[in-house]
Symmetry: C2
Subunit: 259 residues, 2 copies
């Protein structure tokens, strides 16, 4: 009875409740994978996860299967689940895909976005500025990450294409895994600082002014810089400069692996 009562109480805060253990497991794993607690390539034995998170086999399996189809987890038939591996080639592909999709979404947002869209961008920027740190620290707080995500997707949300947005989300969360590895390192630039914030302000202003060219130019540049930073931090600094696809995605010549 007391059990039942508790459930009822839970129900009262509708909306963000995770009633199913499967969902709880999913969120836990999602967090631990995207923030790097569960290292890339690591095996995920259901039994071990069961012991660690205190959740049964079936719900855990549910969660793993979902993560799997989202690309955060890999499933090897009859031999279990693994955290999806990371390497610089994949990161390059993800970044390139992201450049194309986000620029498209941004341009469509600027062209089609309504008043509510503009307001949500302004609000998101406000949240981001509140979460920004004073200059020199290298630790990225969860709050800043959430605000950063909110801002970028507020920008894109006006495009009105759920599929496009869904793809952008997937690419974003993949990128986060790479960024997460950077948290412990202290390399050159400084995401989350007030100076970094100004880049976002510039993007916002261009977007709200319906200047699609400037806005997407700034956005693409922003991502390319992030890419370089993460690349230099996570992997050894390579001698050949990384090539990213040009904005229009129509280059005369190109290497096969350039994308």
């Amino acid at each position: 009875m007391s059990r039942r009562k508790a459930q009822q109480d839970d129900k009262e805060r509708e909306g963000d409740r995770p009633p199913s253990l499967a969902m709880a497991a999913y969120r836990q794993l999602y967090r631990d994978i995207t923030n790097g607690t569960l290292a890339p390539g690591r095996k995920l034995p259901v039994g071990e996860l069961h012991a660690t998170y205190g959740i049964g086999f079936s719900p855990m399996r549910d969660a793993l299967n979902r993560l799997c189809a989202e690309g955060l987890v890999e499933k090897r038939e009859q031999r279990g689940f693994f955290v999806a591996d990371l390497n610089e080639d994949v990161f390059l592909q993800i970044t390139n895909a992201r450049l194309v999709l986000e620029e498209t979404a941004l341009r469509l947002s600027i062209a089609a976005g309504d008043v509510a869209w503009g307001e949500s961008v302004i609000l998101a920027f406000y949240h981001l500025s509140r979460a920004a740190r004073d200059e020199t620290s290298f630790v990225l707080t969860p709050e800043w990450s959430a605000a950063h995500r909110e801002f970028h997707f507020a920008l894109l949300a006006g495009c009105g294409n759920e599929w496009l947005l869904g793809f952008c989300r997937k690419l974003y969360e993949q990128s986060e895994r790479y960024r997460a590895r950077r948290r412990l390192l202290s390399t050159g630039l400084s995401p989350g600082t007030r100076s970094h914030l100004q880049v976002h302000e510039a993007i916002m202003k261009a977007a709200l002014a319906h200047d699609a060219d400037t806005a997407s130019d700034l956005l693409v540049r922003h991502y390319k810089e992030s890419f370089e930073i993460v690349m230099n931090a996570d992997f050894e600094l390579l001698d050949n400069p990384r090539r990213l696809v040009p904005r229009a995605a129509s280059e005369p010549e190109g290497r096969r692996d350039a994308v």
Copy 2:
């Protein structure tokens, strides 16, 4: 012993075996959803599927979860699985996203594709031509569908970006669901006929000649035509002509729901 022997034999034809029931269920459901046997919006009670397909609860759940993350199935928390619904707005979004992504992938393919890529395109076209029917029939064979898919992805595969390709695949299979509804109808045009084949031949020739502009122009036109056909067949013919995003994805003005 004989048991073990059989296993060993199985192992020899590696690669396409579906050892797990979950995978078998997944494939069955995938087929039945994409070809329309399981109608959009329909509920998928695990118990009923269990009875129909003769596969247990857990594997079925596994399969449903995967389909779910792929967008073919929707999961309503604590109240079961449903075949993802179809409607014209979503179809418009899918088509628009597809236009952008496939054009990008095609241009990258043409820019970066190597000899092996060109050969696989030629081979795929050969298969498509073999599967083409004589003019007037309206029935689409599974063979033609497979060949059609093979051709289009042979074109895109040269881009070398697995993520981009993965998104294209997802959009393609979604589109197939709409096309599937058309099989029983007999509307104007005629996919799978020899005249329809010529469109693909033109695309191939342009691609192999490294004429990216012509190739993507033809491809986009091809998809827009398909869109109109399916739209007119499946839903009532609307008075306002559908607006699709222009190729460059940068239109001066636009409705919010236009994409």
